[in-house]
């Protein structure tokens, strides 16, 4: 383990982002969390040449303009970004949403708990899982490469 897990969180709601940041700050394992308030800004930041890509992306569904599924489609159409696991982190318990997320190759689907304590447990679980899981970005950061769109 050479570095903290890099997590990108995409959520339109500033309060949600703050709450999530608070939650992540209470975790035992160090996490480098980058929050984006919209899909466009997150995607363009990650697509920038030389940008350090995250180890896991946490993605909300219900967002104005590009919603979570739109963002997911763009990510999975990008040759470099498609390799990054995407976890849907949302308040929607709609079965249609869950089905659509997996159809678009989301790696996991977590319904945000109303209780903060439980929520912290949820993100703790996620971080622990992705710390242990094998991915193309972990434990070594992949070298920056010119990305091509499919």
């Amino acid at each position: 383990m050479t570095r903290p897990l890099r997590v990108v969180l995409i959520d339109d709601d500033a309060t949600d982002l703050t709450l999530a940041e608070e939650g992540f700050s209470q975790l035992e394992s160090p996490v480098m969390l980058t929050g984006y308030q919209g899909g466009e800004s997150a995607i363009s930041a990650m697509q920038r040449s030389g940008a350090a890509v995250p180890d896991v992306i946490l993605l909300d569904i219900n967002m104005p303009k590009m919603n979570g599924f739109d963002v997911l489609k763009v990510l999975k159409a990008d040759a470099r970004l498609r390799l990054i696991p995407v976890v849907m982190l949302t308040s929607s318990s709609n079965t249609g949403d869950i089905a659509q997320a997996y159809s678009l190759y989301a790696s996991s689907y977590v319904i945000k708990s109303a209780s903060f304590a439980t929520f912290v447990e949820q993100i703790e679980g996620l971080v622990q899982f992705w710390l242990k899981a094998q991915s193309v970005t972990w434990p070594e950061q992949i070298s920056p490469m010119s990305h091509t769109r499919l």
Partner: protein, 600 residues
């Protein structure tokens, strides 16, 4: 001088030959003209006459009429002129006596019938033979031969002429019979053709009656049928308040009559009105002699009407009138009744079809409204899950963070207040969950199948209620039937009812929960009884309402959505829900399920 028979006439043997030829020729004739020509030509030739004429009696007016002549320069200037038989004394006499008359010398005829020339203005010939023609004892007419010379009629000639007259009569009779027969055949053919046409119209009408639901078209077709089969004028009038006004009429309607029909008239006092009010077809012969419905109808000699009642009130009448006869024939009446009755049935059917269409439209509108409501519900539940949950989550999250940062610095009171905030937040979250469950339950597709309630209940008891089984529960479960229903829906219903029973018996030791079923014939009744808190029967009706609670959250946790979902799910099955209870004495909840699936 009379001509001698030897020089001027042929012997009978030669005459007989001619008769033979005439007989043969007559056999091939079909018209009166041919018969007369065949008879006159040889008669004139054989006897050396100058002219001949045949007069026939018209039996309708007893007039003599010229049927044919030969040899006259101007047939109107003879003494053999058309007119009443009794005016022509000579003809009257020979017909009366059944005997021919022969006048052989100049003046002989004038001597016998002096007034003949002056009356007719013609001149008598020198000699004449006048023979009557009879057929079956009935006088047919006369044959006359005129001679410019005196002529002595030999016995052979007289015999020849007598036979000729008889043959002519027979031939004329035959022609007449033939003509009558032809006319009869023609008439019958025409009648058959008419009946066939009428039948065709009837068939068309009957077919239309079976499929057409446009009242106007049906009335129009019935009217056309009557016009074409009975040669009548027809109008259809409908009630408009106290007046009856024409809605349909035949195109050739009378110029004075039509405006009157359109303006409307009352149907109260006249004879035809009384008959119609009694709901029977009315046929009025000699119309013009009855108190008329209105003056303009006097153009008709006979009028008929057929009443149409809707809900015991005379609603419309189909009238027909004829100008050609003062009486209705049986055929007219039969056709009128048949057509009008068919129309009655068709109108009835059309009204029912219209009512059905209206009902279907209402149902369609309701279905559209329902599906819209469903869509709205789906949108609402999605919105609830996203938009309502988020602030609750934020509230609870930041409350927790606030507690953490205030750690140790909270006084007891503030800590209690924050507890209340947190409890409320959690309750709100529970309510949102319940609402989503309800929306979800209602939107689920209904898939009926055979569901074994024993199996279902066993599954629920074993797997789904461990956290509620913290107290001593005594289960009394009877054998349950296998029912027709949706597995998931019935599972949710039974979970809800058993969970309720467990929740409301938390304070009981032991809690007794009795579950049983009753065969109610058409349906199964399923009951869940507990010995718990019960409820005030005054509020029994509200139990299954959304968010309705009869106990405080502190007393019994819950959202007031569970029984509302139960009701909706059971209604989807075509069943009913019910509850019985007394405060403090337990409750019985139950539902019915039809034995046949509502989709069958």
């Amino acid at each position: 001088m009379p001509s001698s028979p030897a020089s001027d006439s042929e012997p009978f043997s030669s005459l007989a030959e001619r008769l033979q030829e005439i007989t043969e020729a007559l056999a091939a004739t079909h018209t009166e003209r041919d018969v007369i020509e065949i008879v006159l030509t040889p008669a004139v030739q054989a006897l050396g006459a100058v002219a001949g004429i045949v007069l026939r009696i018209d039996h309708t007016d007893q007039q003599m009429k010229i049927a044919g002549s030969q040899g006259y320069e101007d047939v109107t200037r003879t003494i053999w002129q058309e007119g009443p038989i009794e005016d022509h004394q000579l003809i009257a006499d020979i017909l009366h006596m059944h005997q021919a008359m022969y006048f052989e010398h100049a003046g002989a005829l004038k001597a016998a019938y002096p007034e003949l020339e002056s009356r007719t203005g013609g001149r008598a010939a020198i000699a004449n033979a006048a023979l009557p023609m009879f057929l079956d004892g009935q006088p047919l007419g006369v044959i006359v031969l005129d001679f410019t010379e005196p002529h002595y009629f030999t016995a052979a000639e007289r015999r020849f002429l007598t036979i000729l007259a008889n043959q002519c009569a027979v031939a004329l009779g035959r022609v007449e019979a033939l003509r009558t027969l032809e006319a009869q055949v023609e008439e019958r053919t025409r009648q058959l053709e008419e009946e066939r046409a009428a039948l065709e119209i009837f068939v068309t009408f009957t077919e239309a009656v079976g499929s057409q639901t446009d009242v106007k078209v049906l009335v129009r077709q019935a009217m056309t049928l009557l016009e074409e089969t009975c040669d009548v004028e027809v109008a259809h009038v409908e009630r408009e308040g106290e007046l009856f006004k024409a809605t349909e009429w035949n195109p050739s309607a009378d110029a004075a009559l039509l405006p009157r029909l359109q303006r409307g008239f009352t149907l109260q006092t006249s004879g035809i009105a009384r008959l119609l009010q009694q709901n029977t077809a009315a046929f009025i012969d000699h119309w013009q002699q009855t108190p008329l419905l209105f003056e303009e109808s006097a153009i008709f000699q006979a009028v008929a009407g057929y009443p149409y009642f809707v809900a015991d009130e005379l609603q419309s009448v189909l009238f027909m009138g004829t100008r050609r006869s003062a009486t209705w024939t049986e055929r007219d009446k039969r056709i009128f009744r048949a057509v009008c009755r068919s129309l009655d049935l068709a109108l009835d059917r059309a009204r029912q079809a219209q009512a059905l269409t209206a009902q279907r439209d209402v149902l369609d509108a309701r279905t559209r409204a329902l599906s819209l409501a469903n869509e709205e519900l789906a949108a609402f539940s999605s919105s609830v899950s996203h938009d309502l949950r988020t602030p609750v989550r934020h509230m609870l999250g930041f409350l927790r963070l606030a507690r953490q940062s205030l750690d140790g610095r909270l006084d007891e009171k503030s800590a209690r207040y924050l507890d209340v905030v947190e409890q409320s937040g959690r309750q709100m979250d529970t309510l949102i969950d319940a609402m989503l469950d309800l929306a979800h339950a209602v939107q689920q597709p209904f898939r009926p199948q055979q569901v074994d309630l024993n199996k279902l209940l066993e599954l629920i008891r074993k797997g789904l209620l461990p956290d509620l089984l913290t107290h001593n529960v005594q289960w009394e479960v009877d054998s349950l039937p296998s029912v027709q229903g949706d597995w998931d829906a019935l599972k949710q219903v039974l979970i809800q009812l058993t969970e309720n029973a467990l929740k409301f018996t938390r304070t009981r030791d032991p809690a007794i929960i009795h579950i049983w079923a009753e065969d109610q014939g058409e349906a199964w009744g399923v009951f869940v009884q507990d010995n718990g808190l019960g409820f005030d029967p005054r509020y029994q009706d509200r139990l299954f309402n959304m968010f309705q609670r009869l106990h405080s959250v502190q007393e019994v946790p819950g959202t007031g959505v569970g029984l509302a979902s139960v009701r909706r799910l059971i209604l989807k099955h075509g069943g009913q829900v019910f509850a019985e209870g007394q405060l403090g004495q337990g409750a019985t909840f139950g539902f019915t399920l039809p034995k046949t699936s509502p989709k069958d």
